[in-house]
Amino acid sequence: MRSPLVTARALTKRFGEFTAVDGIDFDVHQGEAFGFLGPNGAGKSSTMRMIGAVSPISGGTLTVLGLDPAADGPAIRARLGVVPQEDNLDQELTVWENLYIYGRYFDLPRRVILERIDELLEFAQLTERRNDTVEHLSGGMKRRLTIARGLINQPDLLLLDEPTTGLDPQARHALWDRLYRLKQRGVTLIVTTHYMDEAEQLCDRLVIMDKGRIVAEGSPRDLIARYSPREVVELRLAPDDHDRAVASLDGLARRIEVLPDRILLYTDDAEATIGDVFERGVEPESMLTRRSTLEDVFLRLTGRRLVD
């Protein structure tokens, strides 16, 4: 097997006294889509910035594209595409100009940049907006433009920090579709997200991060199989019945999570579990059955929810 594109061992990032990334290990391989899933403050962006060779590591080792970010920052950055969490496009410039000056920062010849801009505008579905200034674009368009900008140097590795946060469902799906195409073309992706559906959609493999540490690693499917029974029955109860119901449901499912507004019953057989619920005289206001997701894995591992 080829050596990994990114290797981290005991990777640490400290800001003064505070440890944002606390000794994490991971490898990212050629051609895969690798994810960091975790709640706010987990240390995802800090990790991405270290990989992006813009933030010096505080401990451990990190190799990116076979190089050391401390010594070979410019050489690494020349081969990376970066989509930061906050868009930092030049608001005063047009779509086209943003791509052009970015190409220049990579020292690409004018002719090459002109060619690539046309392809990238097509790819980002922004051809019609090429002469509009960025301030006039929608959130989804800005995000697509930021991704297009990150591709101007035809990177070997694309870093996407929360690519769809703040977008409406339609824009998110459009974006996932673009990222999927990139993966098909062989671009290696590293994605951070706090949306479990995004992680499931995009990532071949992911790590779940919490408070600077990695709490689990695997493919979305593996993680769910490993940490959560197959099905979930969600019960919503009248607030007055809530506590009594919790008591009567005891021992009824393989695992029970009590959230402020819901009770989650983890089970291998939802139908049987629902039967048992009624048998015990609990009458929920509403009820739904669904498959386990990464959200459930996270809840199981940390006792907290991903998005609050």
Binding site: V54, P74, R77, E97
Partner: protein
């Protein structure tokens, strides 16, 4: 590497400027027109009637004022271009983060910015000289010889200003710097009256301000008068502010942006 990184940064700044140049060009010409009309002609008539040139080396007030104002304008341009726009790049729009995600490093980013300010200073100073000449304050050719002095003066402020801005949390510090730093310098560094008019204890303070050296240099080249400090000293002094300021700017930008 085909083009040095700082030149590519400069290219980027020039493109942004192309979008906003209209407003900026108007003020570039309007400013000197207003100042030279009000102070040079209006106030100047009063001054000239009283002094008959005595105390101003036999110059009309307009001629005395114009080259000094050229240097002071360069100071304002240099400081202005390295304050709010730099804060926007660092914090408000984070465009510097975007640049630093590419092979371009902090030193090239900083030097590229200052190189662009240098080009802006050439434009602004030449525009000023054109206005000056139109007012008959100095001849066009003589006025143009003062442009390098003005550009150097502007850079002597632009470079340390980047260093200062890089350490600020918000715009409060910029407002204070202009209110308590740039505006007093503008008024008291020999632009509007010779610093020998200042109280004796204040005079040495004026000598250490870069603007005073810029004003003396600009005035003596444009008018052929004898400056108070030797020109080589003023050039060396302004150059050290520029070079030292650039070095400090790179250090402080790195501390701010590479975290």
């Amino acid at each position: 590497m085909r083009t040095p990184a700082f030149v590519r940064v400069l290219e980027g700044e020039a493109r942004v400027y192309r979008r906003v140049w209209r407003g900026s060009v108007i003020s570039t010409f309007l400013n000197p027109v207003l100042f030279l009309a009000a102070m040079g002609l209006g106030l100047g008539r009063l001054v000239d009637e009283r002094t008959a040139g005595v105390g101003l080396d036999g110059l009309t007030y307009l001629a005395f004022l114009a080259p000094g104002l050229l240097a002071a304008t360069a100071m304002q341009t240099g400081a202005g271009d390295s304050s709010w726009p730099v804060m926007a790049g660092i914090k408000w729009r984070k465009t510097y983060d975007a640049v630093l995600a590419t092979p371009v490093g902090v030193a090239s980013l900083t030097v590229g910015h200052l190189a662009w300010v240098g080009i802006r200073l050439v434009f602004v100073s030449v525009a000023f000289v054109l206005v000056m000449a139109a007012f008959g304050a100095v001849g066009l050719a003589a006025g143009l010889t003062a442009v390098p002095a003005a550009v150097l003066t502007g850079l002597a402020f632009a470079a340390p200003m980047v260093a200062y801005t890089a350490g600020l949390k918000g715009e409060q510090g910029l407002t204070s710097m202009f209110r308590f730093g740039i505006v007093p310098l503008f008024l008291f560094s020999g632009t509007f009256f010779p610093v020998s008019q200042l109280p004796d204890w204040l005079e040495p303070l004026a000598w250490v301000t870069p603007l005073w050296h810029g004003v003396e240099l600009s005035r003596s080249t444009a008018l052929g008068t004898v400056p108070v400090p030797p020109p080589w000293l003023s050039v060396a002094y302004l150059a050290s502010w520029t070079v030292g300021g650039t070095w400090l700017a790179v250090v402080r930008m790195r501390r701010r942006l590479v975290t």
